[in-house]
């Protein structure tokens, strides 16, 4: 009985303390989401003189036949998958290197963070220039190395444009993954590696049997963060290709932006937002599920 009242009082205090945060969250998240969903039930575009006309789930039905939407979803998936995979591999490599003791490690750790600290729009502009066909550093280097003898249009050709975007994104966000993984690596006791070495393991076996399983939570967290960010990528694309050429790098966020701001199709835009949001939530929920599972595995208890 005694403990129950204590617990109840603590619970009350708890709710009281998080109430302001909850209110703010409701205001900045819940309300816009609800509002967007409400808006998605209306047709409100130039055809209706920008007046909202209730149309039920028409907007959602329209989505199924909208090839451009599916194309942008495909582009987003390709971009997300490739860039996150590369970032994971490079991030792991950097983390392993930065985890070794070497002269100037502190400096290297700080320097590695610089790309992550830069504003995306700024570094996007820089990469657009780097890949510029006439003045870009990449073409210049390739010329000098004798690999090409006429300028390559990096951002003007679908595959190469996607490639350039991935390069820029990997450059910017690898440090972020490396840092999360590094923190995980540092929490693994060196005893384990020594015991494993005495057990006869090669470094590669140790990496697979000790490092990877013990790093699983950090890997999943990094993937989760990066997936959410990458799926909604906007600024980098907007600055470097604007979705072109011919929509070949148009991501969902770019398409939504165009729908709302360029075609002034508010109802349909809201429907796109709602669906994208749901997709994201589902993906994150799946990842979070695995995350909680791996946590249980690692510590051997809940």
């Amino acid at each position: 009985m005694e403990t129950d009242t204590i617990r109840r009082r603590e619970k009350q205090t708890g709710w009281l303390l998080i109430a302001p945060a909850l209110l703010i969250l409701a205001f900045v998240f819940l309300y816009p989401i609800g509002r967007a969903f409400w808006l998605s039930l209306f047709t409100q575009n130039l055809g209706t003189q920008l007046e909202p006309v209730f149309s039920g789930f028409n907007n959602y039905a329209r989505m199924f036949g909208d090839g451009r939407f599916w194309y942008s979803l495909w582009n987003t998936s390709v971009f997300t998958t490739i860039s996150i995979s590369l970032e994971l591999v490079f991030g792991m490599t950097f983390a392993l290197v930065l985890n070794q003791a070497f002269w100037g490690r502190g400096f290297a750790r700080t320097a590695a963070l610089i790309p992550w600290a830069l504003p995306t729009a700024v570094m996007g502009l820089a990469w657009a220039w780097i890949f510029n066909d006439q003045y870009g550093v990449v073409n210049d280097l390739l010329f000098r190395l004798g690999i090409i003898n006429e300028a390559i249009t990096w951002l003007g050709e679908p595959t190469r444009a996607m490639f350039s975007l991935v390069v820029a994104d990997v450059w910017k966000t690898t440090p972020f993954i490396a840092l999360i993984l590094l923190a995980g690596l540092q929490s693994i006791s060196s005893d384990l590696y020594e015991a494993h070495a005495i057990d006869g393991a090669t470094p590669i076996q140790s990496f697979r049997q000790i490092t990877l399983p013990l790093l699983a939570p950090q890997i999943l967290i990094a993937l989760l963060f990066r997936f959410a960010q990458s799926f909604g990528v906007f600024d980098l694309i907007q600055v470097m290709t604007g979705g072109g050429p011919a929509g070949s790098t148009e991501m969902v966020s770019i398409y939504i932006y165009a729908t709302v701001r360029r075609y002034l199709d508010f109802g349909y835009g809201a429907a796109l937002v709602t669906v994208t949001f749901l997709l994201l939530i589902i993906a994150v929920a799946i990842a979070a599920f695995f995350l909680s599972k791996s946590r249980i595995n690692i510590s051997g208890e809940r």
Binding site: L192, I198, G200
Partner: protein, 355 residues
């Protein structure tokens, strides 16, 4: 027949960090060698050199006929129990024990059988499916042992495996360890800074200080014939009385009293003596060599009393173990010294003088 032999091992980390200076010793099959020494004397470093976790700056590690100095740890066929146990936290107890066998591509059937045999021996059978995080300290310690035993290695290395256990459990596990390793009949190198462990477990004890072996002898001899002042003071509890005395002729002066010197040549002008508290007694009429003083402190030491006596006419204090039933005068207590139980040490080098 595998003999572990260390030849002039040295490990230098930095110009003035040399935890292992020059160590040579051999450990035969079935021999239990304990490395005993204060914290930071290089015990763990020496063990890591044997295991191959550190490369020696100079010297060799040899097992049987094979020079293993440049062989990686996994190929040395040595098993090591870490002070922290170093259990793999994401694997079950069974997987922890089986790891070395799996890496060596032992057939699954044999792995299972060996894991179960070892688990039975150590009373771990009901814990095989747990993760290390769900075990008590003593259970973890036994998993770490099981991991070493299952391999059937040529040499066992143990780095303070009992230091994380409470006193009672430690005593119990000590016995188990002794039995276990007597059966194995392999060279065992055991690191500890606990002298009780060293005394009870080992067939040989190497007392280390500053990266050098101070004495390498069976435990009883370490106790009765400490090779120098450091060993004398380090081994034994309560600690041996160590006094620096002046000599006059063939007697060492202790305050208003004197002790007869054995025949040293040349006669020293000063000498260090050591007397264990249990080798002093309350004087009776018959005792020839006696000293007198006043009691400055009485401590309870198990069944006996540890009494500190300030010797008349000097600043020296002798500690003596007394049966609490005996009667004595606080202000004027008379102690008998058995001359055969006095340890004599060189004043400068600290080396033992009497045989």
């Amino acid at each position: 027949m595998a003999q572990l032999k260390l030849q002039n091992l040295r490990k230098q980390f930095a110009p003035n960090v040399v935890p292992v200076k020059d160590i040579s010793l051999t450990v035969d099959d079935g021999e239990f060698l304990t490395l005993l020494g204060p914290s930071g004397c290089g015990k763990s470093t020496l063990l890591r050199l044997i295991a191959g976790l550190e490369q020696p700056t100079a010297g060799q590690v040899v097992v049987g006929e094979n020079n293993l100095t440049h062989i990686p740890p996994g190929d040395r066929n040595m098993a090591m129990v870490f002070q922290s146990y170093a259990l793999y936290p994401h694997m079950t107890v069974a997987a922890n024990i089986a790891t070395s066998l799996k890496i060596r591509k032992t057939p699954p059937g044999e792995i299972q059988q060996r894991v179960h045999t070892v688990a039975d021996t150590l009373g771990l059978s009901h814990l095989l499916d747990r993760k290390p995080g769900q075990l008590s300290g003593g259970q973890r310690q036994r998993v770490a042992l099981a991991r070493a035993l299952v391999r059937n290695p040529e040499v066992f290395l143990l780095d303070e495996p009992l230091s994380n256990l409470d006193a009672l459990l430690r005593e119990q596990v000590r016995e188990e360890l002794k039995e276990l390793f007597e059966k194995q009949n392999k060279p065992v190198v055991y690191v500890t800074h606990d002298q009780t462990e060293a005394m009870t477990l080992s067939s040989q004890v190497a007392v280390l200080l500053d990266g050098l072996i101070q004495q390498l002898d069976p435990p009883s001899r370490i106790y009765t014939h400490p090779a120098n002042k450091f060993v004398a003071g380090f081994v034994g509890s309560p600690q041996m009385n160590l006094l620096a005395l002046e000599c006059q002729g063939d007697r060492a002066i202790l305050g208003d009293f004197s002790l007869p010197l054995p025949s040293f040549s040349p006669q020293p002008s000063g000498i260090d003596i050591g007397i264990r508290p249990e080798d002093l007694s309350l004087a009776t009429e018959d005792d020839k060599i006696t000293v007198q003083g006043s009691v400055s402190l009485v401590e309870h030491f198990g069944r006996e009393l540890l009494v500190s006596v300030k010797i008349k006419g000097s600043h020296h204090t002798l500690r003596i173990l007394i049966n609490p039933d005996l009667q004595w005068e606080k202000e004027d207590i008379k102690l008998a010294v058995n001359p055969h139980r006095i340890h004599w040490f060189d004043e400068k080098t600290g080396d033992r003088l009497n045989p």
